[in-house]
Amino acid sequence: MQAGSKKSSQTLSAGSANVVELANISKSFPGVIANRDISLQVARATIHAIVGENGAGKSTLMKILYGLHQPDSGTILVNGVLTQFKSPSEAMDAGIGMVHQHFMLADNLTVLENIILGSEPTKFGVLSLGDARKHVKDLATSIGVEIDLDLPISELGVGQRQRVEILKVLFRGAEILVLDEPTAVLVPQEVDELFANLRKLVANGTTILFISHKLDEVLAISDAITVIRQGSTVATVSPKSVDRLKLAELMVGSDLPSHGKRATKVGEKVQLAARNLTVIAKDRKNPIQDISFEVFESEIVGIAGVDGNGQFELCEALLGLVASQGTIEIGGSDVSDLSIRERLDQGLAYIPFDRHREGLMLAASLWENALLGHEASLSRGPMIDLISAKNSCREIIERFGVMTPNELVPAFVLSGGNQQKLVVGRNLATAPKVLIAAHPTRGIDVGAQAAVWEEIRRSRDAGMSVLLVSADLEEVLGLSDRILVMFDGEISAEIDPKSATPQILGKYMTGTQ
């Protein structure tokens, strides 16, 4: 492999048009065909986007390219040389670097230590920190990144951490950069900065593979777009020749479900109310300060805002996970002094921010996950009624279209979208009065997103009140009857979605208004 990479760097100067050529790649895991006969050509010094729904096989394909998986069949040409990577380090030797969606950084180590880790410049085993520092500084400057190399990662923001990841890969001499959903964690301004860095990188001769399902961003940044659906390549198109809708059609395979105007009316009765709600923090600004709002029957109120402006604390306070001052009413009765369990019994349901941390037991079976929170109704005395529990899980699987062989598999085998459908289904199955939905479609594909939206709409039409917390403006605009914008722990604006635009929302969300 070492020899292969050497040879490839020679052919590089010869200037072959395609840096990466994947031909007829197939890969199956037990029970799933992840990639089926995928072919892909990536031209030098371009940004090549790979779009597709979650579970379409994008990540598997990239992992094959990066040596994390081996293909069942097919060939990989890097710089015109036939290669077969057995491990990521072999891929790295051939100049391929990957920036994972979940950052692979050690929080307590410094920026410099994180960047050099694994390919440290040394003299007799002793780190040559001076050389390393200079090299990293040069790299950072060349792509327009400014960063303090001696800070521990824990003190950096998400955007800067991503820069560290990119520098890390460049430090290893990567000429081909694979970015897995790089914008999923960034706010709009950070996305612009990232794109500026990427353009500089491409200008320096680097080739970028950009995995995403955010179509607008893909259209904005890439030179070529390959669409993958159900494990196969559907088409490779130029961003100039397609628009968003066309791309989405290619991805989903059918027309996008339209947002549609609602046929039912917002009710008269207040189902969820917060009055002067404040969460006190000891050593910092109160995360939420004096928040008041009402959600009527059969209404969806969207909470828009950049993450970290108090949305999380608001949800936890409403649910009773953190202590708060002020009053909370559900269905007209004061629940401020009630426990979480009692609030849920009043008809409250919660789709949590992070399905892995708060929503699911990943190693437990689907039926056990579906049972969570409903143990009382699915038990006989102290014993769980297994038959009813499994039946109820099967109902959720069917009604919400969770793609799974059965209800007995552990939750971690499902793709993100299907996990989320299960979480949503669990909370909607019992027809709650009030639903708090926090990022209900974060990180899931367009198809699953449409399904979740449809279910929320259907429950709303049946009278459910929804507090929808989301950073995805499209989601907030498309679903909400009213939008509240949160900034810095307070509600900074109430906006009618019919007259709102992402630009107006953006201003309130960033506190510029």
């Binding site: 979940h102 950052f103 085993g125």
Partner: protein, 413 residues
């Protein structure tokens, strides 16, 4: 101009010296900073320091090591056996090997078989205790002076030395001056204390002490300045990230635990070879756990661990050498508390104001009313000191992020 970190450090050291010197002169308790107290403190510091460093190496590579106590027990037994058979140097080597055996067991259990790290550590402690008892029965029973709970006495002791000129060391047979001893005997304010402390640190020093102290900078250098060290730390901070960069996390955890076990074994060896001349059951007396406490106190850094170990050593030393002086220590604590009390008022840290005030009142009252401290209380002094320091130090603890979390390479994360 903002005073530099070093400047602050020197000022606080000088301040503490001035306070303890005042207390010494006021209460007439010369033992507070006498060379014999400091020398004893240093000897008692060594095993705790090594145990703390053993904890550091284990946790930096990502494995909790509750089994340090057990590895120390291996160290005491094998060290004593080696010293009894072949002399003290070989004894220390055997102590290290014995500890490494414990470290290897821990590594195989936690890294290879993914056994819970706490459970494995506890099992090693129990196994060591009964294992060496069994070995004693095989080897020591029936030998002169030996038995099931102790080894025969060793014939040779490890050499000790005095620093020439400063503490009366010999240069080629000529006995040089004992300058620090003279300074100590003058009892001057601060200078007398400096003499006592300096002589305690340089007079009648065992080579084992020198080795133990050298472990600190060497560990720091290896962990923070070499490729091996960076990779080892990355295994404790983020094994997933490390693996993704081609670092062999589990190999490094084996190395880390072998070093950890070796240091714990050496700690045990100093107890059975240097601090005494035979192995005795229960010799470690929980020092492995105190070592872990100093590791936390020292914020998982070698210099911090040295500081913590010295603190424990001093508290234990003064208890041994001059238990009468402990009442004087109450005055010292009261004086320190009042300094921090004033500082916390200036800095407007409400919780600190309260804590320091309470400490001040308690220690002042204790000084005025207590004439003798019961043995059981003096024995808890090191722990009391730790609690006070932990409560007031207001430091930001930064343990390795993934210490204690099992890592299975190649699994989806």
């Amino acid at each position: 101009m903002i005073p530099s970190k070093n400047f602050k450090l020197y000022v606080s050291i000088l301040g503490a010296l001035a306070i303890i010197s005042t207390v010494r002169l006021w209460t007439d308790q010369d033992a507070l900073t006498s060379s014999s107290t400091i020398g004893t403190a240093l000897r008692l510091t060594v095993p705790i320091l090594l145990a703390g460093m053993a904890g550091l190496w284990a946790e930096r590579c990502g494995v909790l090591n509750i089994g340090i106590e057990g590895m120390m027990i291996f160290g005491t037994w094998f060290g004593a056996w080696g010293a009894w058979q072949f002399g003290p140097w070989v004894g220390l080597l055997f102590a290290i090997l014995g500890g490494m055996f414990g470290g290897l067991v821990h590594a195989v259990a936690t890294v290879r078989f993914n056994i819970d790290q706490v459970i494995s550590g506890v099992v090693i402690n129990l196994f060591a205790f009964f294992g060496v008892r069994y070995l004693s029965e095989l080897v020591y029973v029936g030998k002169p002076g030996g038995g099931i709970s102790q080894s025969p006495p060793q014939k040779w002791a490890l050499p000790k030395f005095n620093l020439p000129i400063l503490s009366g060391g010999e240069i080629a047979g000529w006995k040089s001056s004992d300058f620090l001893g003279w300074l100590e005997s003058q009892r001057w304010f601060i200078l007398g204390d400096l003499g006592g402390i300096g002589r305690g640190l340089t007079h009648s020093i065992s080579w084992a002490t020198v080795i133990a102290v050298i472990v600190v900078p060497v560990s720091a250098w290896v962990l923070w300045r070499t490729r091996f060290g960076l990779r080892l730390r990355s295994s404790g901070e983020s094994p997933v990230a490390a693996e993704s960069l081609g670092v062999k996390v589990n190999h490094l955890r084996y190395f880390g635990l072998l070093i950890s076990g070796g240091l714990a074994g050496l700690a045990g060896g100093t107890l059975s070879i240097v601090a005494s001349s035979y192995y005795r059951q229960g010799q470690t007396a929980g020092r492995g756990f105190i070592g872990l406490a100093t590791m936390i106190f020292g914020n998982w850094r070698p210099s911090g661990i040295l500081t913590g170990a010295l603190l424990f050593g001093y508290a234990e030393g003064i208890k041994l050498v001059a238990s009468d002086s402990i009442t004087a220590l109450f005055l010292f604590i009261a004086a320190i508390a009042i300094v921090f009390f004033v500082l916390s008022i200036v800095r407007r840290k409400r919780s600190q104001i309260l804590v320091t005030l309470v400490v001040f009142i308690l220690s002042a009252v204790a000084y005025r009313t207590v004439s003798t401290v019961p043995e059981s209380l003096t024995q808890s002094l090191p722990y009391v000191v730790t609690l006070i320091v932990l409560a007031t130090a207001n430091q930001r603890l930064r343990p390795p992020a993934m210490a204690g979390v099992p890592f299975r390479p190649g699994e989806p994360h």
